[in-house]
Amino acid sequence: MTALLHVKNMTHFFGGLRAVHNYNLNIAPRQIFGLIGPNGAGKTTIFNLITGVYTPTEGEILLENKNIKGLETNAIAAMGLGRTFQNLALWRHMNVVDHIRMAHYSQLDYGLMGAFFNSRACRDQENQVRENAHRLMELFDIEKFADDLVTSLPYGAQRRVEMARAMATKPKVLFLDEPTAGMTPDELVKMIRIIRQVHQDFNVAIFLIEHRMKFVMELCESIQTLVFGEVIAQGPPEEIQNNPQVIEAYLGKEDMT
């Protein structure tokens, strides 16, 4: 099995603090992979390390056998690593369709002069992007909000905008940072359906951080548990669910007196 995303012995220090230690990851094409762990375990840090927000102190990161460690975030994103954020990171003064359009940035090549003088290449590419944006919005059921500012949307719709935006970058691996944070049970079910659909339609691998066990157990093929920057267990959902170490990390040790 060739790995799409391969992380080998990644370690990262924030000053003297060891945030991530000896982290390994292999995500196969089309796999849905979960990362769980208690608060402060370093889950989001791992996302940030792989997506290039921080450069890891040690280790290797390969995307389709190409080294992406040390590249700029935008270059890594353009190579096929899309993501959403834990606390929505939408652009507050922009409307929905512009969000989706913007995510096509790396797929344009008309250049600055083309943009200044509205060249034919510019018009053609922009029209194509617009069409694509509308297709994506339909898929994520946000078409009706197209011209609204994102800040005026209901929470669930904002999440979907973020997801649609990430898909517009044409990712090979999609990183979802707590996609159901703050959602009602109804919205949660809808989200599961959307993620399934994205997985099928776009042929992507998905790497997600999540707290809700129901969600993780239902979606993921394989799960890692992270505690204090170290992976303590890895395997299919049922195995993780019954792993005593995982239970201990989440619930604490039972006092045997």
């Binding site: 700029e72 652009w91 512009d98 913007m102 600055l112």
Partner: protein, 426 residues
């Protein structure tokens, strides 16, 4: 409120072409009868230059006369002709709608320019005010790229303007004039008007290169700190020029050939608006907004944030340089004092008054602050109490400026305004 709404409805059937015709009628009335009859019988000493504001403030006795003049020459003819001619202008606008949008826009602009030229031509002072206002529009729109679309608080615009003004002045002085310092003209002065665009572009390019001094720090810092860096840049440019004796030092530099008549400035202003409009509505330009609103998200969505910041600064500075070049050739004299903190205050007032993230807003801001500044001139010191007060009120009621986050929709602006088919029965 009811009256206002009725009024609005009454004139909602007038297309842009109709307004042009109305204004043309007003200008023609002023041109032919303004001095000989109307202002004479109203007891005014001469044609009120800026709608009588100057006369009214200087001599309050003249207020009724000046107001009557405005009513007779401007208000009534514009409204009447615009409304009554709508049966011709609407089919006319509909005809133009069949043309490609750009052609229709160019035709409208030519008409608009013709009227403006006629109006301004009645008085030399008006020509100067219109020229400076157009230069201000370029400046304001270009500041909006950095302070509005890109959301930095950059204070370096007078510096960019100075770079453009000085570089283009030096070029025209060296090339086209026999100057005391720079010697005889290298090229025949007759070539001046043809090479002037290149000179302006060179000035703009100089400003763009200068802007790197602010753009590169902006990779690492934002907000107040960048404001201080950019402010420092402005003062560095100013004192550098003051200490360079070869270009006149603090005494300034004069004798530029008059290469910037009204049509040239109008052309550059429209070009600037067109190019900046294209840019900010394209995805590459929208990238500025993403950097402003959330840089981390922008990076993750493949936006090259560093390139974007650099583009914003260099692009904004380029147009500031062009504006500086035009400014120098309008006044045919510049000195470093012109590009100092006063100019900065004026530019920022125009941008924040008009509206952030909007070209229309910038145009409105530049025109209103300029015209207001000229109209309130007789108040002298009080002018600087009234204008800031207006600014404060705008900031209270519309924190992003009068018209913010709105783009020009040329199609909608120029379309024919037909009466609605249903519902309206005679």
């Amino acid at each position: 409120m009811g009256i206002l709404q009725k009024f609005k409805q009454m004139f909602s059937t007038v297309p842009m072409l109709g307004w042009f015709l109305g204004i043309l009628a007003a200008v023609l009335i002023e041109y032919f009868w303004g001095y000989d009859y109307i202002s004479y019988y109203l007891g005014l000493p001469k044609i009120p230059v800026l709608f009588g504001a100057l006369i009214m403030l200087k001599e309050p006795v003249m207020i009724p006369g000046a107001l009557a003049y405005d009513l007779i020459v401007y208000v009534i003819p514009v409204l009447a002709v615009a409304k009554l001619s709508s049966f011709i202008t609407n089919p006319g606008a509909a005809l133009l709608e069949k043309l490609p949008l750009w052609l229709s826009a160019v035709i409208h602009l030519v008409c608009f320019y013709a009227i403006l030229h006629l109006w301004a031509g009645i008085n030399d002072y008006r020509v100067l005010v219109v020229k400076l206002t157009l230069v201000s529009i370029i400046l304001t729109v270009s500041v909006n790229v950095i302070n509005g679309y890109q959301g930095e608080f950059s204070c370096s615009h007078p510096g960019f303007m100075a770079l453009g003004a000085y570089v283009s002045s030096i070029l025209t002085l060296v090339l086209f004039t026999n100057d005391k310092i720079f010697g005889t003209a290298l090229l025949p002065p007759a070539l001046g008007p043809y090479l002037f665009p290149l000179v302006l572009v060179a000035g703009g390019a100089a400003a763009a290169i200068g802007s790197l001094a602010v753009a590169i720090p902006s990779f690492r810092t934002r907000g107040d700190y960048l404001a201080i860096i950019s402010l420092a840049f402005m003062f560095i440019v100013k004192s550098a020029v003051e200490n360079l004796n070869i270009i006149g030092g603090a005494r300034g530099m004069g004798g530029q050939p008059d290469l910037a008549p009204l049509p040239v400035i109008f052309f550059w202003t429209m070009l600037c608006i067109w190019v900046i409009h294209n840019f900010v509505t394209s995805i590459l330009g929208k990238a500025l907004n993403t950097v402003r609103d959330d840089e981390a998200a922008a990076e993750s969505m493949t936006v090259k944030t560093r390139k974007t910041k650099m583009t914003a600064f260099m692009f904004g500075a380029f147009w500031a340089g062009v504006a500086g070049g035009l400014f120098a050739h309008v006044l045919t004299y510049i000195n470093p004092g012109m590009f100092s903190i006063n100019r900065l205050a004026e530019i920022l007032a125009m941008v924040y008054f008009g509206g952030l993230n909007s070209i229309v807003g910038s145009i409105v801001g530049a025109v209103s602050i300029n015209v207001l500044g000229e109209a309130l001139r007789p108040l002298e010191l009080f002018k600087w109490i009234i204008i800031p007060l207006i600014l404060i009120f705008v900031m209270i009621f519309r924190p992003y400026g009068l018209i913010s986050f709105t783009e020009i929709n040329a199609k909608k602006l120029l379309e024919a305004k037909h009466k609605r088919q249903q519902g309206v029965s005679p």
